[in-house]
């Protein structure tokens, strides 16, 4: 009888297919995975601890740096939690602008998600194509917010500045071009035999397991869980548009890939509806003067505006005592913020409900039984960003 030996293999943390600094300790029997133990924390920057010593508005740039592919939705989740704590209202135009930015963020994040997943499996041209299309999203961010990846564009009560003239035309031009590119990607991969071999049946997680594991986002919808916070608990302008939530029941990496492709098409639909409906009006709620910076021109000749400006810069906004949890549908799943306020201008406790952290935990259920080479495909299909896992 042949002697059976189990080999322990260390993958990462510096490995291109681990999407950052993820270390995996894999126990192998031949090529078959018996057990997998992720080791995380290499990118831990203590964002939760750091926010306790910063004013509410200073925490906003930190949230960009968690999931750097989807800063538009991280910011939104944080700002919604702060607004809930403050209890202030947002003008309709600002809600539409924010929703538009959040949907472009979703396309941006999914493009990199499918691109890098395909690149890891050897289809490197797919990665290059998706990075090319992503430039379109980044250009729209650039002209509106001044940043290509770190937006820091929303403020409590609205957004930092209005859309530039001609934004609609440029967004429409992108939306006209983009679905054709998605068709191209599908001709490349959807029925590609190599791609199917690498994806179908890989990383299986049943619907029951997915619920128990608390999976959210495309990973959950790939396992047939009909959950989308945009539709179920509409925030911002999502209650004014029609949203179709794509569902797949394959429970494998291929289903998650299909979901991401369908979601990008759906985002195009949502963006078209939003840009057609966007109302005129103020882009920030200046009436909430205790919480929102006054118009810069008014500071020069209005005493109250000057006082409010001074107080906001020196003291910062101070919400009432209380605790809120607010979550939104980020590109990778439910991203939420739990903030405890003690009435001062700094959060007493700020907790990020990370989507990738919870989703990555499921790799311990998904991987055993698959081949070592499939680990790369599974990590790609989970679409994780270590910046958000480690915070």
């Amino acid at each position: 009888m042949a002697k059976q030996e189990i080999m322990t293999l260390n993958v990462g943390p510096h490995h291109p297919s681990t999407h950052g600094v993820l270390r995996l300790i894999v126990e192998l029997d031949g090529e078959v995975v018996l057990k997998i133990t992720p080791d995380i924390g290499f990118l831990h920057r203590g964002i939760e601890k750091l926010s306790e010593s910063k004013k509410y508005i200073q925490v906003l740039p930190l949230t960009d740096r968690m999931d750097y592919m989807s800063s538009g939705t991280n910011n939104l989740a944080y700002i919604l939690a702060v607004e809930k704590l403050l209890g202030i209202e947002v003008p309709p135009r600002a809600r539409f602008i924010r929703t538009i930015m959040a949907e472009i963020t979703r396309i941006n994040s999914h493009l990199l998600g499918i691109g890098s997943a395909a690149g890891d499996c050897g289809a490197v041209s797919m990665l290059l194509y998706s990075l090319r299309e992503r430039e379109g999203c980044l250009d729209l961010f650039d002209e509106t917010t001044g940043g290509r990846m770190m937006l820091t564009y929303y403020r409590p009560g609205g957004v930092a500045n209005d859309l530039l003239p001609g934004f609609e035309q440029r967004l429409n031009a992108f939306l006209d071009k983009f679905p054709k590119k998605l068709d191209e990607y599908e001709t490349l991969l959807k029925k590609n035999r190599i791609w199917l071999k690498r994806q179908v049946g890989i990383g299986y997680v049943s619907r029951e397991d997915a619920i128990a594991l608390g999976l959210t986002g495309p990973v959950a919808r790939g396992s047939g869980i009909d959950k989308d916070i945009r539709r179920d608990e509409p925030y911002e302008a999502y209650d004014e548009v029609e949203i179709n939530v794509p569902l797949q029941t394959g429970c494998d990496a291929y289903s998650r890939w299909l979901i991401r492709m369908e979601e990008m098409r759906e985002s195009v639909n949502i963006l078209r509806q939003l840009i057609a409906k966007i109302p005129d009006g103020p882009y920030i709620n200046r009436e909430a003067a205790k919480y929102v910076y006054p118009d810069k021109d008014r500071v020069k000749d209005s005493m109250e505006a000057l006082i409010h400006h001074f107080k906001l810069v020196v003291d910062g906004l101070a919400p009432p005592k209380g605790e809120v949890y607010s979550s939104i549908e980020g590109p990778k799943g439910e991203i939420g913020f739990y903030i405890v306020s003690d009435g001062s201008s700094k959060p007493y406790r700020l907790r990020v409900r990370p989507s990738c952290f919870v989703n990555l935990q499921s790799i311990m259920t998904m991987a055993p039984g698959n081949l070592m080479a499939d680990i790369v495909a599974i990590v790609g299909s989970l679409d994780i960003v270590l910046g958000e896992i480690d915070r």
Partner: protein
């Protein structure tokens, strides 16, 4: 202008009306220490002796079905003698699209029973709470540090831990 943040499925003013609170009150084995409401979010406060029974009840009650554990976290209150920590569970019901918060106050060094048997999600979330606050979860299958390295001194999210850290790296 419309209010953007109030999107809870529970629209009442009185937390006692929340179906989850009603269910917990009805059950003799899960006495509530208190209930609260802020911005439409209902919180139930439970003692650590009854927390796991209450959470299992919230998951299994056919009218509630909180089948997803959205988050487990903690808050450190060093001034609160005898209840220095709050362990906080955020629950979500897929079928009812409802959210609910359960808070369990703990004393320094007191253990709480792990909910890994109720929701598998809790595995890593409780490890993070252990790592950051030093709260022990009895019955956790793999209680190790998760974000900080093995052998790290202290628990960073406790209030006495300095922001800049204790060691120069």
């Amino acid at each position: 202008m419309t209010v953007n943040w109030n999107r809870q499925n529970f629209s009442g003013e009185d937390p006692e009306q929340h179906p989850a609170v009603v269910a917990l009150r009805k059950n003799a084995g899960t006495p509530l220490v208190g209930v609260g409401i802020f911005r439409g979010e209902v919180t139930a406060v439970l003692s650590p002796e009854h927390s796991i029974e209450a959470l299992t009840l919230l998951r299994d009650d056919p009218g509630l079905v909180f089948d997803m554990l959205a988050d487990v976290t903690a808050v450190h209150w060093p001034q609160r003698e005898g209840a220095e920590f709050d362990v906080i569970y955020h629950l979500y019901s897929l079928s009812n699209k409802m959210r609910f918060r359960v808070k369990v106050p703990l004393a320094e060094g007191q253990e709480i029973r792990s909910v890994v048997g109720v929701w598998t999600t809790a595995g890593w979330l409780e490890r993070e709470v252990f790592d950051m606050f030093g709260i022990h979860f009895a019955g956790h299958p793999d209680q190790r540090r998760i974000l900080n390295p093995e052998g790290f001194d202290g628990h960073p999210l406790r209030k006495e831990f300095p922001v800049q850290g204790r060691v120069r790296w």
